[in-house]
Symmetry: D2
Subunit: 413 residues, 4 copies
Amino acid sequence: MNAWRTRETTGHESPRELLPRTEFDDLLGRVGDFVRRVVIPAEPAPGEYLDLEVRDDLRAQAKEAGVFAPHVARRWGGLGLPVAQWPEVFEAAGYSPIGPLVLNCMAPDEGNMHMLEQIATPEQSEQFLRPLAQGDVSSCFGMTEPHPGAGSDPSQIRTEARKTETGWVINGEKRFSSGANLAAFMIAMARTGDEGQATMFLIPMSAPGVKITRQIHTIDRVIDGGHPYVELNNVEVDDDAVLGEPHRGLEYAQVRLGPARLTHCMRWLGLAHRAQDIALDRGHERRLFGHLLEEHGIAQELIAQSEIDIETSRSIIRRTAVLLDEDFREGTRLSSIAKVHCSEAVYRVIDRAIQLCGGDGVSDELPLAQYLNEVRPFRIYDGSTETHKWAIARRASRRRQRQLTERTPDRTG
Amino acid sequence: MNAWRTRETTGHESPRELLPRTEFDDLLGRVGDFVRRVVIPAEPAPGEYLDLEVRDDLRAQAKEAGVFAPHVARRWGGLGLPVAQWPEVFEAAGYSPIGPLVLNCMAPDEGNMHMLEQIATPEQSEQFLRPLAQGDVSSCFGMTEPHPGAGSDPSQIRTEARKTETGWVINGEKRFSSGANLAAFMIAMARTGDEGQATMFLIPMSAPGVKITRQIHTIDRVIDGGHPYVELNNVEVDDDAVLGEPHRGLEYAQVRLGPARLTHCMRWLGLAHRAQDIALDRGHERRLFGHLLEEHGIAQELIAQSEIDIETSRSIIRRTAVLLDEDFREGTRLSSIAKVHCSEAVYRVIDRAIQLCGGDGVSDELPLAQYLNEVRPFRIYDGSTETHKWAIARRASRRRQRQLTERTPDRTG
Amino acid sequence: MNAWRTRETTGHESPRELLPRTEFDDLLGRVGDFVRRVVIPAEPAPGEYLDLEVRDDLRAQAKEAGVFAPHVARRWGGLGLPVAQWPEVFEAAGYSPIGPLVLNCMAPDEGNMHMLEQIATPEQSEQFLRPLAQGDVSSCFGMTEPHPGAGSDPSQIRTEARKTETGWVINGEKRFSSGANLAAFMIAMARTGDEGQATMFLIPMSAPGVKITRQIHTIDRVIDGGHPYVELNNVEVDDDAVLGEPHRGLEYAQVRLGPARLTHCMRWLGLAHRAQDIALDRGHERRLFGHLLEEHGIAQELIAQSEIDIETSRSIIRRTAVLLDEDFREGTRLSSIAKVHCSEAVYRVIDRAIQLCGGDGVSDELPLAQYLNEVRPFRIYDGSTETHKWAIARRASRRRQRQLTERTPDRTG
Amino acid sequence: MNAWRTRETTGHESPRELLPRTEFDDLLGRVGDFVRRVVIPAEPAPGEYLDLEVRDDLRAQAKEAGVFAPHVARRWGGLGLPVAQWPEVFEAAGYSPIGPLVLNCMAPDEGNMHMLEQIATPEQSEQFLRPLAQGDVSSCFGMTEPHPGAGSDPSQIRTEARKTETGWVINGEKRFSSGANLAAFMIAMARTGDEGQATMFLIPMSAPGVKITRQIHTIDRVIDGGHPYVELNNVEVDDDAVLGEPHRGLEYAQVRLGPARLTHCMRWLGLAHRAQDIALDRGHERRLFGHLLEEHGIAQELIAQSEIDIETSRSIIRRTAVLLDEDFREGTRLSSIAKVHCSEAVYRVIDRAIQLCGGDGVSDELPLAQYLNEVRPFRIYDGSTETHKWAIARRASRRRQRQLTERTPDRTG
């Protein structure tokens, strides 16, 4: 049971059943096949963005192939998989950098859908979740702010929502609002009380006072809709724009983040797998100093290290996904560790693939340099490696003290 | 289903059932409690060996506590856990360096028991497995030989068994025969044909011609019975000394090694966990430059890295253990990767704990330096990190080629 | 004495004198000042190229400031520093990504000038070296070829030069011909005999048969003139186009490469230093969780690791530079080790700076992501890390055997 | 000029001259030859201590060979080399773990001699330095105390010296007093005022009130005389027992530590070199899977990484040694960085050598496991890696701020 859900009154979802193994294998086969047959041939050149019309056409094919929105409940048009069965599907989708977008399980929409499913009212779900799940619109998440505001430390949030009689007036500035350029709405966090008191709001991007200002050019390409600054200038919303209960925004953010950082791991692991395959193919076709590249020991060292990175990432992702269904609190703890390990590991795998491919690896002859730029920011967003390490260490120290004083067993999920 | 067993006629075991979760949690609680309450207080000083009488007394208590021989079938006196449930139990036992010995799940006996259960005839089982499972005798495994003989490359085996009318005459020399000084019998590999043709024999250490010669002093302490050279000089055995079928010895060695290297990971992970706890306790009690050690960021860096090493190890161990029950071939592939990752990770964890404990870490004020010496050889035995990496890389290259030519799906266990 | 030069008859240079310490300190001060005052304000935005007119204007100022072409002999218009005094000057220039271009000590021109000084005839020097040294023209180096041709293994060269009565006819294809788009001439390597027999030619880019074909888009920006494919189609040259003696091209390549890869290290170390300063500035201005970023221990860990990377790089660069003047053979051996260490180290330093700067680090708010792309290829060109490691290991094995058999002392430079 | 010495009135030494290159090469040849011919054959078995009589006999031979006490001024019986020429000699001595002891340049005596030369009065020098330099007696250094006392943070010193009319009464407890069991005297630090006010005293171990209490067993073997606790119980000394001026003890400790941690680097680098040679020899003699071990790429990876570790260590050691003569303050800054890099690097080199030697590496068949235990504590003593990193980071931040505010040039030694 999702521990978080048990503490909640707003959870509308009953726990999902695992798809039986043979059906799941069949689904996985279809996803893999779809990615190879349909998605990969449609990939844009390195450094380019996917054309929106092409995207929509691919999405239509994904629906037909029965691989669309695998993480969303059936009632909203998805495949209804429990979190425990996301890892293999998301990894298969992520084998193409545009795969998750095509299957509609890309950030930030995927995390937003998951949170809406957990917290939104039926009316909010109809208005925001349904079109999002069907790929008719896209969304963004408004958390990060210009310094000094919410960043590594979310409690520094400065955007404020002031209560009026029938609703709220919101003022503030967000940045790194991934996807905002194309989004129909933003899920925005605003301070509604003392430190630690924040509320989530559903705000249409067309609402008066919402304004996209400066674009930030970043090195990734696969998150549609840019990473701009967004101004919220006296934005007025009704009470029913509140997502969940007021003042519990920071708590809800965890509901979103625990799984959301893990789904990043799943998707990027797929890209790491792709990079490793590109390197293996090169290793099998290039001849150096009289031997195939793959037979050179120092190349084998790189290949083996990447295998280890891939399999340890796979292992902690899958264990964490099961935990997120069974014990949300422990799952969130582990997802923090998984995030650090996987974000560093997938970076290393792609980096090694580049070494194995030599000059072509750092040029557009191969997509690897772009892959590296794609995953580089993941070591920073959703909590940087360093911020997580700091939290991991403090959590470890506290858990140990608790064990010693309470003599509680040291069970591990 | 154990894929290996399905190919075999000699497998006497039906697949084991998972212990229901509540019973399993209860067992885990008992093991943890027993280790803390009984085993840890009886640990020898760093650098010393456990006294044999103390060991036997502790074992008697372990039987009483219902935690003895967790991996052995009930009919031979064990707890009958499937491999999928070994990781948590073995880790809990390994929290003390002598825990696995006390619970009778230490190498090399544990691997020998596992193999005997899979391959031995009922008569062989009564004679060799039963007393081993009950802790009445111990055993050794005779594989490694002086150079140039079986080492990293087992096919170089030079010990030879010559067929006679009613049995075999065995000649050769083994070394690093862990446990031989105390063993009642050796499971010895001998060449019985061309390269790749070897047979396993059950040889009492008291048999004429078996002679322990030179002792090799190593840096570990927790494997009882030393690591001596053993001479096999015209050792005569009957046909019923053959374990399994003749000429399939190298194949059987894989049956032993796949799980055996994973159980090492499980046990040593327990010791890494112990080292981390010792470091956390130090971090909570020492004050430096005006702050608790655990509050210094560079200490937190070490603590966090160790948490990541511990949790990634735990994750790949558990996934591999499940696979060894479900798909033995894939489980063996993954156990090779797990072995490299875990052996390096547990070493790093203990090494960091030493740094956190300063001068006491490299002296007998704490057991950490001995722990480091305990796990150092694990990066070498059961296939060194480098040998495994070489195999991992070649396996990755071949799998990729197979996928490309057969267009087989790239499923991962 | 340059050991290589002693074997040569074509060396026109007498060994250079060290600039006295106070004059050298004065020069260093001028370079640092010039870079900060003139060069940095003129840097193009991340991802952009330096405008050629701006470049020429900056170069004029560099000449005026007495910091132009520090590595070139005075008679050709440079400052005449011996290799031992290049490290600090090149590092100071490299503090700006465009600094070396402005000071005319950027690859590939810098390495070409150095080689021309060593090998060219007086006439060739007048024609090619003088305008290059004065920054009136630029050049390229034609070594790398499409697979299977010269790459990691230069002996695989396929471009061929056929002797005619009065000259040569050259046919082949080069790629990654850095700078070719703007170059006035190419120093091209062509096979002129059996394996290991190649000759270097001075070829004007305007010569009939020389054709730039496909551009390769790479992730760096600071090497002017692209990295295109260049076709050599029946290119006819006279005998005086031969650089040095015929058939000794591979040997000369070492003359170029030993110092050339070390000057890369020097320049990129400057950029690493810059990245570290950007990170330190951020650490001093950002406040997180109630403390300055620079006071957080996990940030200090990154800063300290980068300091270590910078200082070890500095140390091996300076020692190698001295050796290249004193003992060219030993200097070349060490420059291979320095290349691996420094290319990996500068990459890590910039990578850590990005972590320290968070989201701004992976966007155009800061130039760091571009710096990372700038130095990424250096782990590949001039011999990849892996190719060098392979050579380093074999050299170590051979040296040890030589010592054992000849009982030669194991002196280190 | 030694920057520290210029601030001092007690420095009796004029700056030393470099030995001319040919004489120095000759000396180096003699040291290398002596170590190979005389010292190595006399090495004790792994885990054993060098017999004192054997030591004295070897020392007599070292004197005869003209290689004794290379770092001590000629007037005290040494060879009088300036610090800049220590690195190669100390490394050559350290090629055997007992080499430095035999040449009388081992810790803690070597550091004590260096400090006495800098600070002691002529009378103190006659009484303490002369017999030490001649190897007639040994010494210890009393700094570290039981927690909470002087450890990573020397200002926490608790041993106190109270002024009497004609001298001092000292009370306190020291631990990790390396060498105390055999020492004739201790240079002890005691608090003589507020925090940061401490004084150094020369105390004969036979003085009433000096008592060696508990021995601490550590994993190293080559520092003679153990690492015991030493009680100072109302120890009375005269005023002339003060080393240097009163209250400047912490400052003098830096005079000792800067060079002392660098000489550790030099000596241990010699042992790393030895381990690499042992591994190279093994690589040349072992055949695996049809090839020499040294031809396997994954072995080459290890060999190359160790070459890089050795050469970067050599480079920063030599640069730092030159600086310690030229600019003591900058030299001390760099010696902190060198200490971290070298202590970690030599550990890795020996660790890799063990991997290359397999089972023999972790047993007494080879001395490598003992070498690893020998260098493990060096990552902790003289400032642990973590303590140094913390200091390195803070120093980097401060230096950057200074540059920005004062616009001072950022010169590097």
